[in-house]
């Protein structure tokens, strides 16, 4: 009898999947994502920025709060990031552990916390904030000591930037094994994961993220180290370009995040804002302002900025005139001032492709050179791999990262590559869903960790104990 297979009897083996309730953690400069392997979207996505509150009563210093919900205007509050801006690798390990624990333990496994009401913070009357996810460094250390290891049941797969150093990798496995007691651990590189998310074992991964843009060749599930190309052209660089554009605009446009606004009234396009600003009776740390500005600019990027699709550069004669004739986009600032953006929205993103078109930047290191533009990164990357691989790589270009969601990015990239490699088959693979593009590396990690054939790869706890932290260098190549 041909009966439809129930979910119970469907052979998962045909997909090569074998779930072992693994966790996947993907840390970036702008966001940190964590979730269960086998799912298509990370359960928990937090900004890598965290709030540090100076304790007024205690000399101990500060306590940290994690998550967007806890970053709001308050006194003695500083916004920090545990990742390195230039490298996108962990800088502040202590905080990194806190952030990760708050995600992997509190957010992914809330029932675990409920068993320990004394620890979950709900009953702490002392701090009036009621931060459920707030993690006290001291408390967590205490936690690790007396309780059984919190992640003893779940293997953990972490991603890392391809240029990550051996020290950092060893530190990661140490934390996973010692602090959390993971039965198994694996460290995978983001380009490999992004390629897996696109269903490819060999690909040229163009990852245009928040702090960095990296281009890496992946062959058979391994990165080619010589091909790694990195540039700071990314979301934050683009924000700075927008700031520069705002400054040079006439009249100058003020970036006022919504926390500064008490109330606003609608005004005509181009008219100055008539909003009433909020008056704070305490001093705000500039980092908070910067964080809020960045959020506002991100919104601007998402809704206004567009990439000139080509062919040719935006600065070619005629292009700007053409754009001026086309309908622009209106963006209303939180203070109510609004304006139609036409050619400017193309100009800010042009520096990614054409270094001569970039707007003046505040600092010299913000400036990008020709070698740091996206097409040149790809060219350099391809030149660093074997000739035989190049056609295949060009035919399998995986575009990932949140900044690649800019309108027209893929068209432009395609045009640039076609011009650079005429006669070659250039094919871009960019996920259509925004989540898949933003969490490409995490999704790839999720796929990898749920594969049945992957189980032989894990570094087990025993292996770690036998070989020490150095095993990660030997195994996770």
């Amino acid at each position: 009898m041909a009966q439809p297979l129930t979910t119970a009897s469907v052979p998962t083996d045909i997909y090569g999947g074998d779930e072992v309730s693994a966790l996947v953690l993907d840390a970036g400069y702008c966001q940190t994502r964590a979730g269960f392997a086998g799912e298509d979207v990370p359960k928990s996505v937090l900004p890598s920025f965290y709030g540090s509150i100076k304790d007024t009563n205690a000399a101990s210093g500060s306590r940290n709060v994690f998550g967007e919900d806890y970053i709001f205007a308050r006194p003695d509050f500083e916004v920090k990031n545990y990742m390195s801006r230039t490298e996108s690798v962990v800088e502040d390990w202590d905080t990194a552990v806190q952030v990760w624990e708050s995600m992997l333990l509190d957010r992914l496994q809330p029932e675990r916390r409920q068993t320990q009401p004394s620890k979950n913070g709900l009953n702490d009357g002392a701090d009036g904030e009621g931060d459920v996810s707030m993690e006290d460094a001291a408390a967590s250390a205490e936690n690790a000591e007396n309780a059984e290891k919190p992640l003893a049941e779940s293997p953990l797969l972490m991603t890392e930037a391809p240029w990550n150093q051996g020290k950092a990798r060893e530190k990661a496995i140490e934390i996973a094994m010692e602090n959390w007691g993971c039965p198994a651990f694996w460290l995978s590189r983001t380009p490999v994961c992004a390629a897996f998310a696109a269903g490819k074992a060999s690909a040229l991964v163009v990852d245009v993220g928040g702090a960095n843009t990296s281009v890496t060749a992946v062959h058979d599930g391994m990165i080619l180290k010589r091909s790694i190309q990195k540039s700071h052209v990314g979301g934050i660089w683009l924000s700075n370009q927008i700031r520069s554009m705002f400054d040079s605009n006439d009249p100058k446009i003020e970036v006022r995040p919504s926390y500064m606004i008490e109330s606003k009234v609608p005004v005509d396009a181009g008219a100055p804002s008539q909003a009433i600003l909020r008056k704070l009776n305490y001093e705000l740390h500039p980092s908070f302002r910067a964080y809020e500005d960045e959020r506002l600019l991100t919104e601007y990027k998402e809704s206004v900025v567009e990439v000139w699709r080509g062919p040719g550069r935006y600065s070619n004669p005629g292009n700007e005139e053409l754009v001026k004739t086309q309908p622009g986009r209106i963006f209303e600032m939180p203070d109510g001032s609004n304006q139609m953006w036409r050619e400017q929205r193309f100009r800010v993103s042009e520096g990614m492709w054409d270094e001569t078109a970039q707007l003046p930047t505040a600092s010299e290191e913000e400036r990008i050179t020709k070698a740091q533009t996206v097409p040149e990164l790809i060219r350099a990357c391809l030149n660093a791999v074997d000739v035989d691989l190049r056609p295949n790589l060009l035919g399998n270009i995986v575009v990932t990262g949140g900044t690649s969601l800019l309108n027209g990015f893929n068209d432009r990239l395609n045009n640039e590559l076609m011009a650079m490699y005429p006669g070659m088959r250039v094919k871009l693979h960019a996920a259509g869903l925004t989540t898949e593009r933003r969490f490409g590396a995490w999704i790839g990690g999720s796929i990898l960790a749920s594969l049945g054939t992957f189980h032989q790869m894990w570094i087990s706890k025993k292996e770690y104990e036998e070989n020490g932290a150095g095993i990660v260098e030997k195994r996770c190549k």
């Binding site: 072992v20 391994m222 180290k225 005429p422 594969l451 032989q456 292996e463």
Partner: protein, 658 residues
């Protein structure tokens, strides 16, 4: 009512009584199957049961029907035998089987892989690990075989100046680690010489200098080692086919060739846009050429097929075609043969012409309109026929003009007499220019194609002849005559030019002769010279006459035919007629007078006129010499010719005037 009943009513033979009961049974069976269908509706189908699949709407019933207890699932630990350590015990959800006691795997106890295993080992010694399931993916774990060698083997067979044993080991390790994925091996290859002692210092320095090994170097070394170790383990002559092939491939690896290939590949990648485009277009062209040859071949094949006449079984026996029925079948055969060859164009006209071809003989007025129109166009395009006549005449006459299209049955055609053709204005042409033209254009074309000077001369001549350059009534005959006239004028002018040239040459020769004579000291003889000039002029005129006669004959012939139809042109042509007639007269008069000489002279003159060569000057002199001798004997002829001469010279004087 079944089909059987219908057959019975119509007295159709159909099937007998035999199969009937069987059928009935069948339908009854079908009816039983189809529940919920009205009997009347089912009867509509007759013998064949209606193809309706009864809808089953038991979706929900089934869902709630199985009230089995929910399947139990458990977290079951498993190990993976493909792992190096085997100690890792992971757990996944599996359906609980009844065989296993539910208490055996206790999730609470298995917090950690390590203690769990220990516990199990302690609990029930060897039985438990055996029970633990192995990952079904362990079988996918495959490793490459990397050649192994001992220290001695290395020293005896593998030693290489370029490679230390240490580095070779490193390479083999990398090959094993990266499963022979050469791009990765090359990418990660980072050999640091371990022995930094002084003795090998210079050596290592060299190695350091050329440490940047290319992918080809690595491959070459590996294949060398692998091939040698293969040969060590089993000598080449004992290898089986597969092994031998592998060995052969590895030994024949040439890094230089590989490098050259890569250089080419790189150059190919670095092509400019234009080069790429050119290559693309060339490829496209090649493809097109290939496609064309294919098409050509196909057409040729088709042609060959067509050349085979349609094989009808009746070709041998002609008697079958003697009846109209037989002919009809033949026609059908041919048509189907045509159709099978996809000759639609021929088929179309052929099929249509059969009924149409019978039409004209019966009732000439009912020609298809399209054909009539085409006829009139053709007539006006030719510029000869009278379109008004055509439209009435074409009904019968036009049909024969395209007999080729009639195919199998050529229609009857009535032969028109010359008189009829003239009255109907029918003319036949080899080729017609496309589209309608004005007759007048033909005259204009002759005039406009000439150079300005020539054009002026022609118009002068026409003026002289009192023929207006613009025809008042360009009927067909008039235009024809005008055309002839213009051609003749052209010839006349050409000859005139020639004669002028000859005159000049003769004058020159004479002057030369006079000079020569003077030099020789001979006293000039005026009489001789006079006669010479006379003779020469005579010869000239004779020549002229010959040409004029030739022209005149044509013109006269034309004039005869056209005289009735053209009042104006005919009159003008008369003026022209005078001279040729006279030429004729002269020729006829000369013949009887000096039969031998005159004819000869004239022949020579005509010949001269025809060969428009400069060498004629010489001939001319011979001609004049001849005349000198002959003149005395044929005085009468001369007299006559003199009279002619006067008129001709008259004419030439007239021409000179121009």
């Amino acid at each position: 009512m079944t089909s059987h009943d219908v057959r019975e009513m119509l007295n159709l033979p159909g099937e007998g009584g035999g199969p009937r009961p069987a059928k009935k049974q069948k339908t009854s069976i079908a009816r039983q199957n189809l529940k919920g269908l009205a009997r009347e509706v089912q009867n509509l189908g007759g013998d064949n049961p209606i193809a309706i699949v009864p809808e089953i709407s038991s979706f929900k019933k089934r869902r709630f029907g199985s009230r089995k207890p929910a399947a139990r699932w458990e977290m079951r630990p498993f190990r993976n035998s493909a792992r190096g350590d085997e100690s890792l015990i992971l757990r996944h959800w599996r359906r609980k089987t009844d065989v296993q006691p539910p208490a055996a795997p206790q999730p609470e106890q298995q917090q950690n892989g390590q203690p769990d295993e220990d516990k199990m080992d302690a609990d029930n010694g060897e039985s438990k690990p055996e029970e633990m399931e192995d990952s079904s993916f362990a079988k996918f774990n495959v490793k490459v075989d990397v050649p192994q060698y001992s220290e001695d083997q290395y020293n005896s067979t593998l030693a290489n100046n370029d490679w230390t044993k240490d580095e070779t080991d490193y390479l083999m390790e990398a090959v094993r680690d990266y499963d022979l994925r050469w791009p990765i091996i090359w990418d990660r290859y980072d050999y640091q010489s371990k022995d930094g002692d002084a003795s090998t210092d210079s050596n290592t320095a060299v190695v350091q200098a050329r440490k940047a090994r290319t992918l080809e170097d690595l491959k070459a070394r590996y294949y060398e080692v692998a091939a040698k170790m293969m040969a060590v383990q089993r000598p080449v002559q004992y290898m089986n086919q597969a092994e031998y092939n592998l060995h052969e491939i590895m030994t024949s690896f040439k890094p230089e060739d590989e490098m050259r290939r890569k250089k080419f590949a790189e150059a190919q990648m670095g092509r400019s846009k234009e080069e790429a485009r050119e290559e693309e277009s060339l490829l496209l062209e090649v493809r097109r050429i290939l496609a064309r040859t294919e098409k050509f071949n196909q057409e040729r094949r088709e042609l060959y097929n067509r050349l085979d006449y349609p094989t009808t079984e009746t070709t041998q026996d002609l008697s079958t075609f003697k009846t109209s029925n037989g002919l009809h079948t033949l026609l059908q055969n041919l048509m189907t043969a045509d159709k099978s060859k996809k000759r639609k164009s021929l088929m179309g006209t052929d099929g249509q012409s059969t009924p149409a071809s019978a039409g004209p003989s019966a009732q000439p007025g009912s020609t298809p309109l399209a054909e009539q129109r085409r006829e009139s166009i053709a007539a006006s395009a030719s510029g000869h026929g009278h379109s008004r006549h055509d439209s009435t005449a074409s009904a019968t006459d036009a049909r024969p003009e395209k007999p080729t299209k009639k195919g199998a049955q050529p229609p009857e055609r009535r032969k028109l007499t010359e008189q009829e053709e003239l009255t109907y204005g029918v003319s036949t042409h080899d080729r017609l220019p496309s589209g309608p033209t004005f007759r007048y254009d033909r005259i204009n074309k002759i005039l406009t194609t000439k150079s300005n000077a020539q054009h002026a001369r022609i118009t002068n001549t026409l003026n002289e002849l009192d023929v207006p350059a613009r025809l008042t009534m360009p009927t067909k005959a008039v235009v024809d005559q005008m055309e002839h006239l213009l051609v003749n004028i052209q010839t006349l002018l050409d000859l005139k030019k020639l004669s002028d040239k000859f005159d000049a040459e003769i004058k020159l020769e004479k002057a030369k002769k006079a000079e020569k004579d003077k030099a020789a000291g001979i006293v000039p003889q005026p009489a001789a010279s006079e006669s010479a000039t006379k003779g020469s002029s005579n010869g000239d005129t004779a020549k002229e006459n010959g040409a004029a006669k030739k022209d005149g004959k044509k013109a006269g012939g034309d004039a005869v035919t056209s005289s009735t139809e053209k009042p104006a042109a005919g009159h003008d042509a008369n003026g022209d007629k005078d001279t040729p007639n006279k030429g004729d007269e002269q020729a006829s008069a000369e013949k009887p007078a000096g039969e031998s000489t005159g004819a000869d002279e004239e022949k020579a003159a005509v010949k001269d006129a025809q060969d428009k060569d400069t060498t004629n000057g010489v001939k001319q002199e011979i001609g004049t010499g001849e005349e000198k001798e002959e003149r005395p004997s044929s005085s009468g002829g001369q007299k006559r010719s003199a009279s002619v001469l006067s008129s001709v010279s008259d004419k030439s004087a007239k021409r000179q005037k121009k």
